[in-house]
């Protein structure tokens, strides 16, 4: 079985990425997507899946993505869409990171820890497929050394084939050709977002909505804050926003008992906080124009 973590050697150092543009494409060719890179980074730091190391990996990944961005010309459309996927993954990561380590009495905490486990499960799953891909590659290569006998029919058998019936006029034949040569996929190349499972939701936008409501009103229950959410995704994003705000110490949570109503209270000074200084990793990383996740 191939050890996929040798990939770590191939992980580009974010520092040198800007220094030498020449090697840029070569390094890009060394990984086949964010999960690949993430796996490599994790291997490089020899995790132990600890909060601290997770943060290192997350930061390094974001740093790497930013460097790529600064280089500029490397941002092809598919890479941009890859980034959208990894941004969603990092949201999961970040959500898990925001939790105080070790305190798992609370059921929601447990749920969040499971979310983190889920992310690692996804990475492990990807790692499994990577190993299987290596197996496929080896097998295909070995098999390519065998050549099947697929010779033309011996002339005396070919002569036995029924006389071909050909009833197409040149015009009809041209029609078939025109249809066959027609581009199959008429949709113009664009960033695929269907794998994002639902309409993109902007963290920043949701943060503005929540910030406005909390700063200009009394404490609100989480239920009330998501009452107008048009989809589950919006609920999830608003929850993440609240976690962010909690980290920035501008909100406080009150929950009298597990699973009871969660009340959110504004504790920060209005001028000291804006949606601009929030979760910049998520928002600034999506430089390609137009920013797809900003579109509603």
């Amino acid at each position: 079985m191939a050890e996929p973590l040798t990939l770590a050697e191939n992980v580009p150092d974010a520092e040198t990425a800007t220094a030498r543009k020449g090697g840029f494409e070569v390094r890009l060719a060394n990984f086949t997507g964010p999960f690949d890179l993430l796996l490599g980074l994790i291997a490089k730091h020899k995790l132990d899946v600890t909060e601290l190391a997770l943060a290192t990996v997350t930061d390094e990944f974001i740093k790497y993505i930013r460097r790529l961005q600064e280089i500029g010309e490397g941002w092809a459309l598919d890479e941009a869409s890859e980034f959208l996927v990894i941004a969603a993954t990092l949201l999961d990561l970040k959500a898990a990171r925001l939790l105080p380590a070790g305190e798992v009495e609370d059921e929601e905490d447990v749920a969040l820890l499971e979310a983190r486990d889920l992310l690692f499960a996804r990475l492990l799953q990807y790692k499994a497929f990577k190993q299987l891909a290596a197996h496929l590659g080896e097998t295909l290569e070995n098999e390519a050394r065998r050549f099947p006998r697929q010779v033309a029919l011996e002339p005396h058998f070919a002569a036995l084939l029924p006389e071909l019936i050909w009833r197409h006029s040149p015009e009809q034949f041209a029609g078939i050709a025109a249809k066959a040569l027609e581009p199959k996929d008429t949709t113009p190349p664009e960033v695929g977002v269907d794998h994002l499972h639902g309409a993109p939701v902007s963290i920043k936008e949701q943060a503005e909505i929540l910030g406005f409501r909390l700063q200009h009103g009394r404490p609100l229950s989480f239920r009330a804050l998501v009452a107008d959410a048009e989809s589950t995704l919006v609920v999830v994003v608003r929850f993440l926003v609240l976690l962010e705000m909690f980290r920035d110490r501008v909100v406080a949570f009150e929950q009298p008992a597990p699973l009871s109503e969660l009340t959110v209270r504004w504790t920060g000074r209005p001028e000291g906080w804006s949606s601009e200084n929030l979760s910049e990793e998520y928002e600034t990383g999506t430089a390609p124009e137009p920013e797809p996740e900003e579109e509603q």
């Binding site: 079985m1 086949t32 997507g33 964010p34 999960f35 690949d36 993430l38 598919d78 869409s81 890859e82 996927v85 990894i86 993954t89 889920l118 499960a121 996804r122 492990l124 799953q125 990807y126 790692k127 499994a128 497929f129 990577k130 190993q131 299987l132 891909a133 290596a134 197996h135 496929l136 590659g137 097998t139 295909l140 290569e141 070995n142 098999e143 390519a144 050394r145 065998r146 050549f147 099947p148 006998r149 697929q150 010779v151 029919l153 011996e154 058998f157 996929d185 960033v191 695929g192 269907d194 794998h195 499972h197």
Partner: protein, 221 residues
């Protein structure tokens, strides 16, 4: 020869020809240009599938250098060479994609490669291999699901795999309406395996992920 009497007549006639039924099977194997199932071969020869299976196994051993019962004799091998091991032939008979086919022996790939321009296929990229692996193990599967597992958009890679004939469309998901994909029999051919069951099991590669599948399904990834 669907008719019983025809079949019997065919069988009798084959036995009288030089090399018998075994040589007849060999003759047919010489002209097929894609794997032929035991059933197809049996129907073409007017023989039962059990007989053909036995003959195929004999030929396979014979080509690999193990002397089996002498061709043309119905009972037992000739004492002279029964059981004697010889050098293998330059070709082999294999069961791939559910069918039988003659291949040149891999030891001579360099030599044969000089003569066979055609059929040489470019190697798959890492991205294509990973996508192929996910489709092979999760089929039928949508592109969105493959994307979720690989963490990247796989649209163009899947298109390439379809063009290469390794992957094909397999209807739509009844719930989401998404196009589903599966591996083709050409994929099995290229892998040199008879069926998907011969792929190595995925479980040893997934440490402690029991129940994770339900998670992913629930998440509709």
């Amino acid at each position: 020869m669907s008719d019983y009497e025809d079949a019997v007549a065919g069988l009798a006639a084959l036995g009288e020809r030089p090399g018998g039924a075994r040589a007849a099977l060999e003759a047919v194997l010489m002209v097929i240009d894609q794997p032929a199932t035991t059933e197809e071969l049996a129907a073409g020869l007017g023989l039962g599938t059990a007989v053909v299976d036995e003959l195929l196994a004999e030929l396979q051993q014979d080509y690999n250098g193990y002397t089996v019962k002498a061709p043309g004799t119905d009972a037992g091998g000739s004492p002279a060479d029964a059981g004697a091991s010889r050098a293998p032939r330059g070709f082999e008979l294999r069961n791939v994609a559910g069918g039988w086919r003659i291949y040149s022996r891999p030891e001579f790939s360099d030599v044969v490669g000089k003569f066979v321009l055609d059929g040489q296929t470019a190697r798959l990229t890492q991205a294509a291999l990973e996508t192929m692996a996910v489709i092979a193990y999760r089929q039928p599967v949508s592109r969105a699901r493959v994307s979720a597992i690989r963490g990247v958009n796989v649209d163009s890679v899947v298109r390439t795999l379809v063009q290469r004939g390794l992957v094909e469309e397999a209807g739509t998901d009844p719930e989401s309406g998404a196009l589903l994909y599966r591996s083709t029999s050409y994929f099995l051919e290229r892998m040199g395996i008879a069926s998907l069951e011969e792929l190595p099991p995925i479980s040893p590669h997934l440490p402690g992920l029991e129940g994770i599948e339900e998670f992913f399904d629930a998440e509709r990834m």
